[in-house]
């Protein structure tokens, strides 16, 4: 019964997509009903599945449901086996992702029904959104890397289609292309990682690779560098998909797409696929401490750079886009700490971020809708009286993003920072859920005591995995001659500083948009009023989530030395996350101070239009311009990547034109030439045909009887 429900989760949006594609021309502005129904159906099923996992409805805590085997090639002594099966894997981690994903998708679909009103591509939009939801669900439910890759590309395709939704706008189609091409770079590494996995384990199924701790441990023992390489390759894919430095450049441009798309795909769901994938491969990464350190460093660096760029952007959606990049960086920062606290924190941040960032984007869309498509914050201001609901919800989202107690962002961000600090000072946290410093028995003994479904750990091998994990001593890991602990120490302070920056740029946007004197651009026309309830209702629902999710599910109890619901639930998949941890009062204090300082500074500078920002910009012109021009990443890539590639392309074209084309053209003419020679034989004369047949028979007889050596 539960299996059927799990199958229904992707089926609902798929059917909606097919129905809209077929019926689109006649449905027109009613198309959204199908998407909303499909997404809501998927959400209902996902919720039931989540409850099913929570109440041990699946006998082993997780289940793989094979749907269809396309091909199965048995291996032999010198060939690799290849088994391509479409299967769904449900466990607590995918259940969390699915519930969040389908919930946000439903709200966004409702919102979009009003936002996209009157657009000529209305049906196409909703068909794409349904297709995206389906692909994303399948990505989350994948049971092997090949399927993961397939839907990884499918969500990329939907993203491309939706970024370039208004394809008649040159900037939109260029942005779509950029997103697609930049993602190719990451996917290249990702594909190599999957090939390596296949070569190493002889299978791409999760059960044979990342869910098989014995195999992982033996590979780690045999080829020490191999798992690190695989992890780095896979992480390259995550860098592309989750817009991490240095491939983050596509995400801000992706804001050319309709705003609901930015909220759904480029904030809440698709861009978190990389985080999800790395978290999914926890067992793998645990055996690759160097790769984990790289994950953390890239994450921390991205968080900082994106926040710095976000300081000076004037396009409201772009501020949010850089904020998304920055927050995704936080998640990787947590994932790379190699502590279950960090991984749990990253997954939790993924969920809370989905809520408050979708909320902020939809709020920005509401503003954009009212301002007649204008999104430059310099052109409007003081909208809080005009759009009270949007203002209130946007404020909640901003507070959550800034990480202010007790909103959801506070809990998740705090956990990540605490985990980084723990990684920096492993000796101070020996007793905590830090497998690197405990001997394996302790590491997986803890969740058993915590009583959160320890009996249904899923695969029995999990315990072994952590025994293997324990053998990696993280304190000895070095990168560029610097010890891992030092790296984590640096990253901790960078992360804390980013928290301050986050609060600052978020409230800079809030104050510029909603405070000060009321200014409305001319383009707004008669639109300048609060958005209709189809748009504000999703905002309110998301605001509730952004406000209370952390309190309800998070580390509330962690402060009082317990385990939050979220971690307890996630521990069904990653057992270590349920290990209890002391509240890190230092981190809590530091991040709260940072948030309040950021908001305060923004208030001082932007609450009333003052000369302060301009004065600062003039005081440090190089720094200001660096930030305003996004660290010149686009220009750097243009000079060092695009220009050489174009030159190479021109050169190749020339060589191709004179050399290869000539050769290929020559070869391709051979069959035709033979045919022209042979054609006269087919002369239409029946007596000739008969003669030829007899002659051929005679020749065959001659060949076999007289010259048998042929």
């Amino acid at each position: 019964m539960l299996e059927l429900l799990v199958i229904l989760i992707p089926l609902c949006p798929l059917l909606a997509c097919l129905a809209i594609t077929v019926l689109g021309p006649s449905l027109k502005e009613n198309s959204h009903w199908l998407t909303v129904l499909g997404n809501a159906g998927a959400f209902t099923c996902a919720l039931v599945a989540l409850i099913g996992v929570a109440t041990n409805g699946f006998p082993e805590g997780s289940q793989t449901i094979p749907l269809y085997q396309w091909m199965s090639i048995p291996g032999s002594s010198n060939t690799m086996a290849l088994d391509i099966t479409i299967a769904l894997h449900i466990d607590s981690m995918s259940a969390i992702m699915l519930t969040m994903l389908t919930f946000v998708a439903t709200l966004v679909a409702i919102y979009a029904s009003s936002y996209m009103h009157g657009d000529p591509g209305y049906a196409r939009f909703f068909a794409c959104v349904s297709l995206f939801t389906f692909s994303m669900i399948m990505l989350v439910l994948s049971a092997n890397f090949l399927q993961l890759f397939m839907f990884w590309e499918a969500v990329g395709l939907c993203s491309y289609l939706l970024i370039g939704f208004w394809y008649e706008k040159p900037s939109a189609s260029a942005a779509g292309m950029k997103a697609f091409l930049v993602n190719r770079v990451g996917d290249f590494g990702f594909a190599i990682g999957i090939f390596l996995l296949w070569r190493t384990f002889g299978s791409v199924d999760y059960v044979d690779t990342i869910f098989n701790p014995a195999a992982l441990a033996s590979v780690a023992a045999k080829y020490p560098g191999l798992l690190e390489t695989i992890c780095l390759c896979l992480f390259t894919g995550a860098i592309g998909k989750s817009a991490q430095f240095p491939l983050h450049v596509w995400l801000p441009d992706a804001m050319e797409g309709p705003t609901p798309v930015s909220a759904l795909i480029h904030a809440a769901t698709m861009v978190t696929a990389g985080v999800y994938m790395v978290a999914r491969c926890t067992n793998l990464y645990m055996l690759a401490p160097h790769a984990q350190l790289v994950v953390s460093i890239i994450g921390g660096l991205t968080a900082l750079i994106a926040a710095l760029i976000g300081l000076t952007q004037t396009d409201l959606k772009r501020v949010l886009a850089y904020s998304t990049v920055s927050q995704l960086g936080y998640m990787f920062l947590g994932l790379g700490t190699g502590t279950f606290l960090g991984i749990g924190g990253a997954m939790f941040h993924l969920v809370t971020h989905a809520f408050f960032k979708a909320l902020l984007f939809l709020g920005a869309g509401s503003v954009m809708h009212a301002m007649g498509g204008v999104i430059d914050m310099r052109q409007f201001g003081g909208l809080r009286k005009l759009m009270p609901k949007t203002y209130a919800t946007f404020l909640v989202g901003s507070l959550a993003l800034a990480g202010l107690f007790p909103l959801s962002g506070f809990w998740s961000k705090d956990t990540i920072l605490a985990s980084v600090r723990m990684a920096a000072h492993p000796e101070a946290h020996k007793a905590d859920a830090h497998p690197a410093t405990t001997d394996g028995h302790d590491a997986h003994g803890k969740p058993a005591e915590s009583g959160h479904g320890a009996a249904d750990h899923g695969k029995a091998g999990h315990g072994d995995a952590h025994a293997a994990v324990a053998s990696v001593d993280r304190t000895k890991v070095k990168l560029f001659g610097i010890a891992a602990t030092t790296w984590y120490e640096i990253l901790f302070w960078a992360g804390s500083f980013t928290a301050f920056l986050t609060a600052f740029y978020t409230f800079r946007a809030v104050f510029m948009t909603f405070h000060g004197e009321e200014r409305i651009p001319e383009e707004a026309g008669h639109h300048a009023h609060e958005s209709p309830s189809a748009m504000t209702t999703p905002l309110i629902i998301l605001a509730l989530g952004a406000a209370f999710l952390g309190l309800a599910l998070g580390h509330m109890s962690a402060i009082f030395n317990g385990t939050g619901f979220f971690d307890g639930f996630l521990s069904k998949t990653i057992p270590g996350t349920a290990g209890h941890h002391d509240a890190d009062w230092f981190v809590i204090g530091l991040s709260t101070v940072a948030a309040i300082a950021g908001i305060g500074l923004a208030w001082m500078m932007y609450a009333e239009r003052s000369g302060v920002p301009a004065a600062i910009a003039q005081a440090v012109p190089p720094l200001y311009r660096l930030s305003l021009n996004k660290f010149y990443f686009d220009e750097l890539y243009y000079i060092f990547l695009v220009v050489p590639v174009v030159c190479l392309a021109q050169l190749s074209r020339f060589i191709d034109w004179i050399g290869v084309d000539g050769l290929v053209g020559f070869i391709s003419r051979i069959p035709g030439a033979i045919a022209k020679l042979a054609r006269p034989i087919q002369n239409g004369l029946v007596q000739f045909y008969a003669l030829s047949m007899m002659l051929a028979t005679a020749m065959l007889l001659w060949a076999l009887l007289v010259r048998p050596g042929l």
Partner: protein, 534 residues
Amino acid sequence: MLETFKILLPASVLIVAALICFLGGTTKISKQVWGPFSLLSLALASVLLIAMPQILSGSTPLPGDSTAVIFDPLARISEFLALMVGVLFAGMAFRQEADDESAPEFYGLLLTLLSGLMVVSVANDLILLFLGLELISIPTYILIYLGKRDTRCQEAAAKYFLLSVLSAAVLLYGLSFLYGMTGSTNLTTIRGVLQQTYGVTNGTVQAASVSKLGIVALVLIFAGLGFKLAAVPFHFYAPDVYQGTNAWNAGLLSVVPKAAGLIALIRIVSHTMVGYEGFGQTVALILALVTMTAGNVLALLQTNVRRMLAYSGVAHAGYMLVGIAVGFWDSWNPTFRLDPIYGLPVGIQASLFYLITYSLVSVGFFAVLVFLARPGKEIEHIEDLTGLWKSQPWLAIAAAIFLFSMAGIPPLPGFWGKLALFGGALSVRGDLSGAIPYPNPSFVALAIVGMLNAAIGGVYYLRIIALMFLHDPLSTPQPRGGRPAMAAVTLCAIVTIVFGLQSRPVLTLLRDIDQPTAIQVATTPKSLPMTAAK
């Protein structure tokens, strides 16, 4: 004796239905009834065929050497193929022939021809097998003539008749050698006698006893059946006849004689002529190489759709012969039995698999042409299909599916078929004795030529697809093929896709077909029949 009739029951139903058609055609019964009537009879035959295991369960099976018919997995799958093809062609003809005064004759002939194919499928006797082949040929002459009734059509009918008669004579001559050598027309008996005269001692063959008469028989049978398969150089009739007649007839010609030829070849040569595997392999190799290449290369130049499809059909016959050649090797070397490669069948099974996939898409594509045809105005030039996507989107998609499958694009069944055939050829290791462990060079060459041919084939298939999708229509087609032809197209397209994605059921059916195990061969190169025949 009773069992023989039971096995022939589905074919008999069709014969009786055909007789009713012929007789009823002289009465004043509406011409409209004959289409549904023949479909009904095909349905009845299908039911009987499905129930055949139950029908046969009561009777005690006689030893194979005393029966004229046999109901083995090969017969079963061939008969199913015959009925499937029959239903599709009968359906396609609905609109075209319904108002034609010759409708009863038309359907009667179709049913006769199908019963012929079914007789070939079950025949275990040279006479009966030949009878089945003629039951296919003779109605075909008339059908070709009934098709268009202009001078070109008459020319086509006459050509087909003359060359077909010639090839039948060659085949019969070959069969007579076989009879002369063994003194029997029963295939099981022939096999037994050959096995004995071959002189098996201690499980090895005394190859010196291979008769030159047998080699003559082998070559003549290949020549006679090569005509049915349209293998080069027995293919000459195909382009002229396909072009001369209408799309429906051309479609029928592209499937039914080819199936009959392949099945007969498997029955008479692959499964029966023990001891001649080496020679059979040589002939099949040569024919496969020449046929694939000539078919594909000549198809490149064609501008007439049916003519192009004729050459494409020739090329596909070449692919099927690859499997036959591999099958000889396989049955020659029971100890080095080829494993199913990629879970796909090898050798004869692969050939049959390919025949099924080819029949499916060939019928489908001809159904597209039938649908687009108007009375007196067939689709002649490839350009007539230009811009089909704009006027008939579904038809264009279906046609593209068929062409992609013919070109062997995954995941369509044509791809799996080619993978099985060429993969089988590549898995052949060593020479006939199986002593050398590296891939056999002739088979490697065969596979490489086959793949090059697949590439050449891609050119003319993709050219049509490009015309259909990338260009604006030159004229608005006014198809009158009607719903039945459309239904045939849709059915074929859906089955093609499903087949490509999930071919397990057919593979399971095919797996039961014997790769006949020959007697153990002496492993010293000296005793190989090829050298021994010097």
